[in-house]
Symmetry: D2
């Protein structure tokens, strides 16, 4: 599979979905050439959205972070986060009561936006445990792991409530050489110990793609074959795009290293339509 210039593949599409981390930016800031690419898309009238498995911040804050990094054209309307999928679920299925969470205060935005009362897991006690109607895992920071993961497990052993995972990633890079466990990894630990089935949102699940697709269609007629998903991670971005039925391009600025790309594609059996060095044109 040959590496192609990103520009050469764009002409086939009316819209592009970008993953955020590893595609638009990484631990060094904005990906080189990223801003020019966005300008190019806007000039050509190609629509674009950002699909991120990040529930640590509200869409407004996520957009702010990209803007501060240098992506001036971003706005919160262009951000579609896995947290928003969790928010929709809470709104339609939980409806009332307190929702316990693991994550930062900023991440609790998604619960509040569903009109529900938030309670950090650390404040659960025998007086309020019966009022809790759901548990949401939002971010790997903002809580004491030992105390609060154990509290979350005991909550789930006592109360039969839905548990929502707002980010399915198991790990994420924090520098060129270091990774950190993401909340999706913590979710697996809890799920194994309590032996229940959690509800997961985020790529590769189709729901985020459907939400983004619907957003495009609210503005213009568009078909699936006119959309390209651009991502750095085979198991989420490329798997999800493929399954949803849109074309996919793998970029080599994030999780998938250039020297391992072909091997990874073969060993996972997840095959993008294109491989590009980066989104730079």
């Amino acid at each position: 599979m040959k590496i192609k210039p990103f520009e050469s593949i764009l002409s086939n599409y009316k819209a592009v979905f970008f993953d955020s981390y590893g595609v638009l930016k990484n631990y060094n800031g904005l990906i080189k050439g990223g801003e020019e690419t966005i300008k190019y898309l806007e000039e050509k009238g190609i629509q674009w959205l950002v699909l991120t498995n990040d529930a640590s911040r509200s869409p407004i804050q996520l957009a702010d972070k990209l803007r501060v990094a240098g992506l001036k054209a971003i706005s919160s309307e262009k951000m579609i986060s896995s947290g928003m999928m969790a928010r929709e679920f809470l709104r339609s299925k939980v409806r009332v009561g307190k929702v316990a969470y693991l994550g930062t205060e900023a991440s609790a935005h998604y619960i509040e936006a569903a009109g529900l009362e938030t309670i950090p897991v650390r404040y659960i006690n025998s007086n309020n445990i019966e009022e809790i109607n759901a548990l949401v895992l939002l971010d790997d920071e903002g809580f004491d792991w030992f105390r609060d993961i154990n509290k979350a497990i005991n909550l789930l052993l006592k109360r039969n409530i839905p548990t929502i995972i707002a980010n399915t990633d198991k790990k994420y890079p924090v520098s060129r050489e270091e990774v950190a466990i993401a909340i999706g990894g913590v979710a697996n630990l809890i799920e194994t110990v309590v032996r229940k089935r959690f509800i997961r949102f985020g790529k590769p699940d189709s729901q985020m793609f459907m939400y983004a697709f619907q957003q495009l269609r609210n503005q213009n007629e568009i078909a699936k074959h006119e959309i390209l998903m651009v991502g750095d991670t085979l198991q989420t971005d490329i798997m999800g795009g493929n399954k949803f039925g849109i074309d996919t391009a793998l970029v080599l600025t994030g999780n998938t290293l250039k020297e391992r790309a072909k091997n990874d594609i073969k060993s996972y059996g997840i095959i993008p339509n294109y491989i590009c060095e980066s989104i730079a044109i």
Copy 2:
């Protein structure tokens, strides 16, 4: 959680999604009272569709089987099968070439309907292996397990092609006392041995629900909270409906036995909005 009469919960909804096996019929034929329920829905103007993880037959044949069993109001337009999701994937992502399959000849319908050439796994040989662009697992019958599961594994070790699972169920009941392995169970075996990631269609995945939802919306305005999913299986029907954001009712005429329902709900942590003895009203 109290068991409610099915009729008592219907008034809240404009549309109902039924699972087929274990809900509309089982190994004894049509569920008692099923036909009256469908008549009742039609009189009340409540729309209904059938969502089935069955890729062993075309929608026309699936509808025929229900009609023969006694459900006169069924038509193929009301059938939404996991095979149809696989067909959409093949149409949009594979497009050309031969598609190998495990399943009956009838199940190969979904490949042909995508405009692709079918080849049973048993006919793969060194002359045609390079022309095969996908493998689809459709049904647990129609092939020699020992010979063809081993052939499928060697196909996947030699060719880097997508593998599609058109039915995620691991087992299904064949009588009151006996079960059989479904093609989703065979898929797990193959996936473990070749260590690749397959693409799965069927409940609890959102794509079938989205397809059904879209079909309803093509006719009338409808919101998610106006739809009820009725199923007998917690991990597929109820999990999928919950995650998609619609209400769910568990019936006790299939996989979930009455004496185990409460325990299963608690031990899986998958919670339906209602429990009903059956769909009879």
Copy 3:
């Protein structure tokens, strides 16, 4: 399966292996009647040993805790812990260098006893990372989970060294109503993220049983059918005893509740030779 008095089954055996937590003691202290049972064994000349998946303390400290709880006849020679299996591995396979660990200082005993230098994971840095020859997971306490689990993951991504799990339990009861994640659960999280295979010691693995068997044989001739394993946990004590080829008795004073015993035995497919209320005679 009928519940039998513990005394009635003892006459068949020349030696008894006891699990510690849930069998000899629990969160309330020594199991009622435990001391009398041990006296009875000693009078009858039936040998006994304690096999525990506990690597949080040295055998001397483990015996001390049982003695303080009231079991006067205990001595450290009767304690066989999963930590001792880890110690043997370190002695025979690692031999030299620093060994990093997650756990309390007391748990690090097993590394020192192998003649190796210990380093808590939190003190790993770029200066000493190359000197580390193994990682051992000993106990769920004694470290900051967020910081040190992440540090352990980065250690394993940088250094190709064996990782040893000295306690395979996923959770343990801390009171009648609360559980806590054990280090075996943390090990699963790390293993999933780094995608490596760790080396696990502790029941149900045969090595602890073999070690205990050997200890008996160093004193007297004894055959496997003359030994009884007594435990409260199907997946470790009973599975391990069965697999090793000795008889097994399940007691209902720990992980397996009386009202769930028959169901658990059936659903796991792990079948003890006997069920007893407790070890009391």
Copy 4:
């Protein structure tokens, strides 16, 4: 890690354990130089045994196959198979009654050798199902997969009996380019569908190593550090030898290809003491 000549590492050991397939022989017959190596060991007084995860034949037949391939010095006393571990279990834990099996008639030897009556799964019916006291999975051949795997599942849903897996391998090579699913892979499928825990014998489990170690010690004093395990498979031979506490050498004539050896060692985190091209000296 440097590749070393096999002869150069032998001087450190008083005994060598060889895996059979991929080490002593492969699909082409005896490994080149294998006979000379065995002669060399016998001249030097180095003891040797064969440890194989093969339960398809009796030790006598396994030895015959190696002798026919050209290894004249082999005798059945030198063969230690995973089937023998299953036999010991049946003898000590099942003791009486009928034992159902999946495998060839030759593989049923291990059940008969335990003094038990054998019944192929295909002959199970409502008249004899209550007499069956265990199920043993021995070999991937000798039965109709579709019919008999489904029969085995229904047996386990109806009868609460132990299930023994006499070969944990998931696949095995049948030619330079083709693999086949081994009975260990079939076991995983059945275990997933019935949701029970099976009892597995074979490397990397310690029991085979312990059995072999005991056999050596019945003849002469020997310590673990004086034994070398030679294997072609990281997850069974090397993992098992490491865990048991003996030194390990990976050879490149079987499952682990030369070009992938270093990568596989790193990605699994299973580290042999030595790597050798083959056992040729």
